[in-house]
């Protein structure tokens, strides 16, 4: 019985926790500019993240290690420090985008500029972690995250045609604005395959002491949780395609994205968009701050744990404190939140191979996985998606910079 509850909670929290500032911003911009035709990027990203999340759960269950600790043990300090530093830097940009997302939601609500909210939001985030009631907070924000289902409701209310939706699932290349199209494609993929997702999941599996009986449960949670989560991300794109694109409104600022739910849900739509943005980003920021502190503790051998009082893990708690402070400074600097989000997602796609490939090598190492090593198929699928997205990103980012300046 406890396992069924565990699975249910696992699925619900991954649905609520799936959406973040990256998926909302990239899906909204993609839907407004290219309609359904970038749905395939969400699908591709989701397939890859399902494999990665399932693998990370299986890895911790079978090997008893977390991924970060195992990468250092397997590749040595010199081998592990490069991907670790790259992931840390990207996490900082993504956390700044998440905090920026919450601040922009407050700006939409109150009309007061997002920079003013940077410190209060960062303080609230830090306080929740500092008072170490994280597992309650994490599940709470994930359950609240279910508010993002309003996008799915809007899709039904707007009466999207399944036939056209399916067409968007096939990769294509539009006649013009190809550079921007590809940039959005890699940003969507980068937003979907967020490395901190599977690193955090593997730490969770260790903390919840999943044993081998959890292998199938892990597969269920990874597959259904991520798929439902991806449906919401697709819903955001579809709603933008149905409400913003026909009116010729492109999403360059959140003020424009905030309009998308009004046609389907009226006055409620505006406030539901703000609630979805704020809650999804806050939940993601919590998870990302903790994931970063986990990574540092697992890398350098400190005590770590969801509910460790700061007194019992000073370096661990100082890591997320400094990390949140730095991200708040980036938001304070006034960088355009929408642009910061999109570039952080694209850069995530660029460094995907650096964070995913070492993990893939571990998944094929019998000393860690015994008979539970990866199948050749999952190796090829993940490698192709990850390497292709990185190459696309390396090409698309410069083009976007030339195009948009």
């Amino acid at each position: 019985m406890k396992k069924i509850l565990g699975i249910a909670l696992g699925v619900v929290t991954s649905i609520g926790g799936f959406l973040d500032v990256g998926s909302i911003a990239t899906s909204a911009q993609a839907g407004a500019a290219f309609g359904y035709s970038l749905l395939w990027a969400v699908l591709l990203g989701t397939i890859c993240v399902i494999f990665l999340v399932e693998m990370s759960g299986r890895f911790s269950i079978v090997s008893g290690h977390t991924i970060t600790a195992a990468v250092r043990k397997r590749f040595g300090f010199a081998g592990f420090i490069l991907p670790f530093a790259a992931a840390l830097l990207v996490n900082l940009l993504v956390l700044a985008s998440e905090i920026g997302g919450v601040c922009v939601a407050l700006q939409l609500l109150t009309g007061i500029g997002f920079q003013v909210w940077a410190i209060p939001v960062a303080m609230a985030l830090w306080l929740l972690l500092w008072l170490a009631t994280f597992d309650v907070v994490e599940d709470g924000t994930a359950l609240l995250g279910l508010v993002t289902l309003c996008f799915v409701v809007a899709v039904f209310k707007l009466g999207a045609q399944p036939g056209e939706l399916a067409a968007g699932l096939v990769p294509s290349l539009p006649a013009q604005e190809r550079a921007h199209y590809l940039f959005l494609a890699v940003s969507v993929i980068g937003a979907t395959i967020a490395p901190y997702l599977f690193l955090f999941y593997s730490s969770g599996a260790i903390e919840d002491k999943w044993d081998k009986s959890w292998i199938t449960a892990n597969r269920v949670i990874a597959t259904s949780g991520m798929s439902f989560g991806a449906l919401i991300a697709m819903a955001v794109m579809v709603v933008a395609a149905l409400t913003l694109k026909p009116q010729g409104i492109r999403v360059e600022e959140y003020e424009q994205a905030a309009l998308m739910l009004v046609p389907a849900l009226g006055g409620w739509g505006f406030y539901l968009f703000i609630a979805s943005l704020a809650i999804a980003c806050f939940g993601a920021a919590l998870e990302l701050s903790l994931a970063t502190a986990y990574a540092a503790a697992q890398a350098f051998g400190w005590n770590w744990g969801e509910n460790l009082k700061p007194r019992a893990a000073a370096r661990f708690s100082m890591t997320y404190t400094v990390f949140i402070a730095l991200s708040a400074l980036i938001v304070l600097s006034g960088l355009n939140p929408m642009k910061l989000t999109l570039f952080s997602m694209a850069i995530t796609a660029v460094i995907l191979p650096l964070t995913v490939m070492p993990f893939l090598v571990l998944m094929n190492d019998r000393r860690y996985m015994g008979s539970h090593v990866n199948s050749r198929f999952s190796n090829v699928v993940v490698t192709l998606i990850v390497v292709l997205s990185a190459i696309l990103a390396i090409i698309a980012i410069p083009l976007e910079i030339i195009g948009s300046r």
Binding site: F75, G76, V361, R366, T383
Partner: protein
């Protein structure tokens, strides 16, 4: 007289044989527990080096390994045939041809 070296600085670094040719990277030091002490029995110098210094070339080789394109092999160097000069690469006192080869089938241990 005896000398203590920081072994971790030699791990993953190239190893030369008696002729000065590079025969791979030091990727394992097999030790035996004897009377509460760990004593070296042999060194494993890998071809692709399982513990390659993590360079993009190393990553590419690892991906190839994952996709089953190539497998790594290397030499077994007995303890008395390995020297660790002060600030140079580790050196094996025998020629590669005289060394026993091994193919890295990851042991099923643990």
């Amino acid at each position: 007289m005896s000398r203590v070296i920081a072994l971790e600085r030699y791990v993953g670094k190239p190893v030369r044989d008696a002729d000065g040719a590079e025969i791979g990277h030091l990727h394992e030091v097999r030790v035996r527990a004897e009377a509460g002490e760990l004593v070296v029995s042999e060194y494993l110098v890998g071809g692709t080096g399982l513990l390659e210094r993590f360079s993009l070339a190393g990553l590419a080789r690892q991906i190839a390994l994952v996709l089953g394109v190539r497998h790594s092999a290397g030499y077994v160097v007995p303890w008395d045939a390995m020297e660790f000069p002060e600030d140079e690469a580790a050196r094996c006192t025998r020629r590669a041809a005289d060394l026993e080869r091994f193919s890295a089938v990851p042991p099923e241990k643990r």
